[in-house]
């Protein structure tokens, strides 16, 4: 049972009059001290996968290569996620600050922001702030350059290795792993790639210390997280909340009184039905999320919701690996056929087995996570799939 209550937090968007001092002081600290803070804080990646940020930094710092990179993954494409846009609009300096600190720790001279194609409108302002930031770095006497690269609208380019391919001017297709980015990332050089939000938390950990951060959240999910809340809610928007709350508390706060399901983690996440709200923890020990929380009330057809997701994946698969490219097509065709009565309800089992295969044999996270929403929606709303 969750023991945390829903609590709003104000770290990410907090006003920061002492920003420059924090940056200057952090850049003066030893790499070991910074690494220790980030490791001790328990911070895990906020893009969704939740890899411990300190470890990523540590592994990359241990590589002997001269040339290393920090990449900020701002290719925010998960359906229902819009928090990175807000972070970049409101506190870009903190993002850049996180990148510079990371650059110091791992020994990188260049950082890149890979900005979602649809966020082109943010670019001019970001570049202006970047000039200011570069001036500050110069004042501090730290040699680090940040560049902004635009994505072109492909969801798959949010996958880190496809993102590197895209940055290198190639078609955005995920690479084989290993090697991981900490060894061979952008231009096949050791690279830390962090989500926008993760970088801000890294910066804030340097500011408030690991201890303060650790006090928030649970053993598996330290700290707070920015949520993008949408769907059937009277108060849709961006909220920073402590991790570890129950979905029941969440729905009580944000629901419209008739919530029948919450899609946690966007199209690639899990659908939790009402009867499981109470026992579902939002965090890495329960249902993790990159921030997307979509609420559905009883007026919604979960078949339509699922079909929408599967169509999304069918279109956004890069197409290189078989399970994902063809599997997504088949899942879509399959649920349509069951709905129309062209296939019996038993075909849903066949499709679930197919989704299993996609989960365990697709090349990257995209194909591997299609099963999440497919399974959780089909299992929990099977009657809506058939009738």
């Amino acid at each position: 049972m969750p023991d945390k209550k829903l609590k709003r937090v104000d770290l990410i968007f907090s006003e920061d009059s002492v920003y420059k001092d924090v940056l200057a002081e952090s850049l003066k600290k030893s790499n070991e001290d910074i690494l220790k803070d980030v490791l001790d804080s328990g911070l895990r990646g906020r893009g969704g996968a939740g890899f411990p940020t300190g470890l990523k930094w540590k592994f990359t710092s241990q590589e002997a290569e001269e040339e290393k990179y920090v990449v900020c993954n701002a290719d925010e494409g998960e359906p229902g996620t819009f928090k990175d846009r807000e972070i970049l609009s409101r506190v870009p300096l903190k993002v850049f600050g996180g990148m510079a600190i990371c650059g110091k720790v791992i020994g990188a001279k260049h950082g890149y922001v890979y900005l979602r194609g649809e966020y082109q409108f943010l670019k001019a302002e970001l570049e202006k702030v970047l000039d200011e930031f570069h001036a500050t770095l110069k004042e501090i006497g730290f040699d680090f350059q940040i560049h902004i690269l635009m994505g072109s609208g492909a969801y798959i380019c949010g996958e880190e290795s496809a993102l590197f391919e895209s940055m290198e001017g190639k078609r955005g297709e995920p690479r084989n792993k290993p090697p991981y980015p900490t060894i061979a990332g952008f231009r096949n050089k050791p690279t830390v790639i962090n989500n926008v939000e993760t970088l801000v938390y890294s910066f804030m950990i340097c500011r408030i210390g690991a201890q303060k951060f650790q006090e928030l959240g649970t053993a598996d999910s330290r700290g707070s997280k920015v949520f993008s809340i949408s769907g059937d809610t009277p108060i849709a928007g961006i909220y920073e909340l402590e991790l570890g709350m129950s979905l029941e508390d969440f729905v009580e706060e944000f629901g419209d009184g008739d919530t029948k399901a919450v899609q946690v983690g966007g199209a690639s996440g899990f659908c939790v039905p009402r009867k499981k709200f109470k026992d579902t923890i939002i965090g890495f020990e329960g249902v993790p999320t990159g921030g997307s929380m979509m609420l559905f009330n009883s007026s919604r057809s979960m078949y339509n919701v699922l079909k929408n997701y599967v169509e999304f994946f069918e279109e956004e698969s890069c197409g290189q690996c078989t399970p994902c490219r063809v599997g997504c097509q088949q899942l879509k065709l399959g649920i349509e056929a069951v709905k129309k009565g062209d296939k019996s309800a038993a075909y849903l089992k066949t499709l679930q087995k197919l989704a299993d295969t996609m989960k365990i044999s697709s090349k990257c996270g995209l194909g591997q996570s299609v099963a999440n929403s497919f399974y959780s929606i089909v299992d929990n709303f099977v009657e809506e799939m058939i009738y």
Partner: protein, 596 residues
């Protein structure tokens, strides 16, 4: 040992060199893991997912072709999970594949079909829901047919075209379920930078990329009583044809090939090797003439280095990519086209035949030869010089159609005239062979002595290194060639167009200072040509090359200028190398083409 890793596959311990994959390790143990997108010649893609295996401790299955073997790994290749996943993958591929196998040219020579058969997939469970898609079948190229309905998107062709050939005529377009293998703006293959080399055809696991076959046209010609059908066979066909007819790579089947052609009903079975020798006479003379003009007369209009011109894939490559170097190409036609031009002139005269009644067929290890034969400038005899170019593979199909037991055929010789050849001609089939043959003749021509290599084997130009260099100091020359005295003749050999690109870039940057460069479009030279039996691997190409050199060693005459029929044709018909008649029939010009 630091450089090996130990792992366990299906309960058996195995040690492999660090850097090897799980698939490599399984091979060591003779454990067969099915693959589709994997190809020994290409970088690992890991995209078909047929080769997945279970790794203890890993959440998901791993692609064995892409997963490095690691210390202490425990791998299972045949679990319930693995079998289910592989079966699903093959079923999914079949769901988007046009599986009317009996209508497919690759029927019984298809890796997807093999896998479906191995997995006993007798019901295509995902096929019924797939809507009919409008696939394109591009048949406009004279060399290659691209049928998207049979494509499984493994990208072997894409990797071949970019990595091995530096051509990138094929690429990936669109995403999701629309993802396809395409060309620049989806233009037809004949209208892009495709060199027709057919390396993609050699590596396509299904029937999505095949040669345009002219089997029926050849049969029609043979059955036409009114026609005199002659056939020429390229050097590299005789060491590979057997592979498609139940024999092992590296077996020399020259005699059986001649016998089979005669039994198929060709009126005269002749040899491209004859014109390979003739090429050496023309090209060798051209080289020496160029050197004199460039080095002695300081004539800046004469371009050095001179490039060989036998490989039509290379020719189209340079026409597209380096048109500023067209004048460096030897003006000599390829042996196929020299043969074609002479067949309907010299041969027709000697045999008293009406050239309009001659059908000239060529058996080539090459798909680009089909394009070459169709070039508008290749009509110097007054007719299309070569009417039908077919590949080694197509010949094998015809032999099977005719019901011959190829292995049991007797060894027969070629007919005359234009059937005699030398060891120098046969090595045209391997990378470095034209260079070696040219040096054997040119060196002797100007010094009066044999090349200073043991047993005439010019080993520095042999081998499978992508680019090889060799130089010979020209000393003690005959008086008429004394202007070349002391020159260090610098040569280079490249095979596969990526290596050609490398050499061209070096020349462009002024980093390379060659006199004579041999380029073959395909890896290994013609032995690895796009029309040769499938599969092709480095090992198979090595065996074919060894066979070529064995064939050379076994020949009575090993220098082109000693071919008696060559001497005869100069005496009776051509006059002298680079003479008027030669110029008319044996030399050509090139066309600048667009770069995309």
């Amino acid at each position: 040992m630091a450089n090996t890793v130990n792992l366990k596959i299906d309960g058996i311990d195995v040690s492999v060199e660090a850097g090897k994959t799980v698939l490599d390790a399984a091979k060591e143990l003779n454990i067969h893991i099915p693959t589709l997108c994997y190809h020994e010649d290409l970088c690992v893609a890991g995209n078909c997912r047929v080769c997945v295996v279970e790794q203890e401790g890993a959440r998901n299955l791993v692609a064995s072709c892409a997963m490095p073997a690691q210390e202490g790994m425990i791998i299972h290749t045949n679990t319930h999970k693995v079998r289910n996943a592989r079966r699903h993958v093959v079923e999914l591929l079949l769901s988007e594949h046009n599986a009317d196998c009996t209508k497919c040219y690759k029927n019984k020579n298809c890796e997807l079909q093999d896998l479906a058969s191995e997995m006993v997939i007798n019901e295509h469970m995902f096929t019924d829901l797939v809507p009919i898609k409008n696939y394109t079948k591009d048949q406009q190229s004279p060399s290659i047919i691209k049928d998207d309905s049979r494509c499984i998107r493994c990208q072997r062709c894409v990797r071949t075209c970019s990595e091995l050939q530096h051509v990138s005529a094929l690429g990936v377009a669109y995403k999701g379920d629309h993802m396809k293998i395409s060309t620049f703006f989806e233009n037809p293959m004949y209208d892009v930078v495709c060199t027709n080399c057919g390396q993609c055809v050699n590596r396509c696991p299904t029937g999505a990329l095949i040669e345009k076959n002219y089997i029926d046209q050849v049969w029609d010609a043979i059955y036409d009583k009114d026609k005199h059908v002659i056939v020429q066979t390229a050097p590299a066909t005789r060491i590979a044809l057997g592979e498609d007819l139940g024999m092992e790579p590296g077996e020399i089947v020259t005699g059986k090939m001649a016998a089979s052609l005669r039994r198929l009903g060709f009126d005269s079975v002749l040899d491209t090797d004859f014109t390979a020798d003739l090429t050496i006479m023309e090209e060798g003379t051209e080289l020496l003439t160029r050197l004199k003009k460039a080095l002695v007369d300081k004539d800046s209009s004469v371009k050095v280095p001179m490039f060989t011109s036998c490989s039509p894939g290379w020719i189209k490559f340079i026409e597209h990519q380096y048109p500023e170097y067209l004048e460096n190409l030897s003006t000599c036609k390829s042996p196929q086209q020299m043969f074609g031009a002479l067949a309907k002139t010299y041969y027709a005269q000697k045999k008293g035949l009406d050239p309009s009644k001659i059908v000239s067929v060529s058996i080539m290890p090459c798909t680009a030869k089909k394009f070459e034969a169709a070039r508008p400038e290749m009509r110097d005899s007054g007719y299309q010089d070569v009417d039908l170019g077919i590949t080694t593979r197509e010949l094998a199909v015809m032999i099977k159609q005719a019901g011959m037991d190829f292995e049991k055929l007797p060894d027969e010789g070629f007919d005359s005239i234009m059937g005699d050849s030398t060891g120098a001609a046969v090595i045209f089939g391997a990378t470095g062979g034209v260079m070696e043959a040219a040096l054997r003749t040119a060196y002797e021509l100007i010094t009066g002595r044999e090349v200073p290599f043991e047993n005439l084997d010019i080993t520095p130009v042999r081998g499978m290194e992508g680019v090889r260099e060799a130089s010979i100091k020209l000393e003690g020359l005959l008086p008429e060639w004394s202007f070349l005295e002391g020159v260090e003749l610098k040569t280079a050999v490249a095979h596969g167009l990526t290596n050609a690109h490398q050499i061209m870039e070096a020349i462009k940057k002024g980093e390379a200072n060659y006199h004579f460069v041999e380029v073959m479009g395909c890896p290994g030279g013609c032995i690895g040509g796009g029309g040769q039996p499938i599969p092709t691997t480095p090992e198979i190409r090595k065996k074919r090359a060894e066979a070529i050199y064995r064939e050379d060693t076994g020949m009575k005459i090993r220098k082109s200028h000693e071919n008696p029929e060559v001497a005869q044709i100069y005496k009776e018909f051509l006059g002298e190398p680079l003479g008027h008649k030669s110029h008319e029939l044996l030399h050509t010009h090139y066309t600048k083409r667009k770069r995309h």
